[in-house]
Symmetry: none
Subunit: 241 residues, 2 copies
């Protein structure tokens, strides 16, 4: 499905941005790069910035016009720094645009079109799009570097396509019984060191309960804490001898 | 609130990445840039890539260690390409990490730490963090350029700040400096009670670091823990008289 999503770069001036775009795409599982009249391509600078994504540069399709790049696409998304509708086209923030891209890429090719570093997409290019997408940004400085804009869009597409949440490793946690024994031990030591004084018990134990219940020591950590308590007991007992 | 969020770059090798980071930050309304021993700074290349964000470079704070950069922070987020827990610290995808950052930045400084281009963050740096954040990516090529990773995190923060549903944090957390003093105190007491023995130091201190960084005692809880340590010291000292 991600293979149905292409990135189209128009008249890119800095070859470094082409390389950075390739890397950003591959990081997010995209592979189809189209270049409309790039200023310089191929180039060492692009290769260097592409890092492990040089294969995308090697397979990039270089064409003479946007029309060629999007000819077989069923949906064309134009990216724009403008956050106001200008062409009576739907204008979506990146996240919603990405959801639409993913939904449609199941059935056919979809293009994401990015404009020049200095001036973005021309009006006649914006008009060839079905939807415009903008990246929510600081209104005082909203224009992202083109490779950064590509990174964000590709990320939102990856997130929309792969919504499963990563499971973290299961740790072994102590049973409640073990926690109870720990609390008893802790209380014993705190009385031994006079941190808890019979006539002024306060809420210390409640507070410690709350802290350790929230922080959830793993079993090995709990064993370490028990060891610390024992070391205090033994030290104090020895002095009492 | 966004002014409470700082980006910390460690040992950045390519000055262009520093400039790109500044632009990415400003695009998303962030302004506080900290540089730990950058290879080259200031530089023309950084200025050029920063474009309209040169003010962030001019105001960047250059320091000699991560400790200095995060001393006054209440929450430290380490970014990592690893998607498996390695340090028993919470590991969140960027979107959830950003929600937590925004919630906590209302009450105090928060740091986002990014590592070297080639090798990311070292283990001792990751251990100074409370939470690790990763960017969901193509498992076959998951490592983003550092400025792209910054762009994505800053974007998620901007989106989370814009979203009224984020939960604000009520608790007051200690600064990293206070945590350092606590660790020193803890170590002192553990040596006093012979829980740590000079010839067999083991990894106890690392493990305790990990536990307390993860569990994040609130300020009142930390004060209580300090009180416990003092009570042990005094008890042991008295026996020594």
């Amino acid at each position: 499905m991600l293979d149905n999503i292409r990135v189209v770069l128009i008249n890119t001036f800095h070859p470094g941005n082409i390389g950075a775009a390739a890397r950003a795409m591959k990081n997010m599982g995209l592979s189809q790069l189209y270049l409309v009249e790039p200023e310089i391509f191929p180039s060492k600078e692009a290769d260097s910035r592409a890092a492990g994504a040089k294969d995308l540069l090697e397979n990039a399709v270089v064409v003479n016009s946007l029309e060629e790049a999007i000819a077989d696409c069923q949906l064309v998304i134009g990216t724009s720094a403008r956050t106001q509708r200008t062409f009576d086209l739907p204008l979506l923030p990146a996240r919603e645009g990405a959801e639409q891209v993913v939904g449609e890429a199941k059935s056919g090719p979809v293009a994401l079109v990015f404009g020049r570093e200095t001036m973005g997409l021309h009006n006649h290019e914006l008009q060839q799009c079905n939807i415009h997408v903008y990246i929510p940004a600081n209104p005082e400085y909203p224009v992202l570097n083109v490779s950064q804009a590509i990174q964000l869009l590709c990320y939102e597409i990856f997130m929309a396509a792969d919504n499963k949440s990563y499971k973290s490793v299961q740790e072994e946690y102590p049973r409640q019984k073990e926690m109870s024994l720990f609390y008893e031990h802790l209380e014993k030591v705190l009385r031994m060191t006079n941190f808890i004084i019979p006539q002024h018990e306060g809420k210390v134990l409640d507070k410690l309960h709350r802290f350790f219940n929230r922080s959830r020591p793993e079993r090995t950590e709990l064993n370490m804490l028990r060891g610390i308590l024992t070391s205090v007991e033994e030290t104090v007992d020895k002095k009492n001898d």
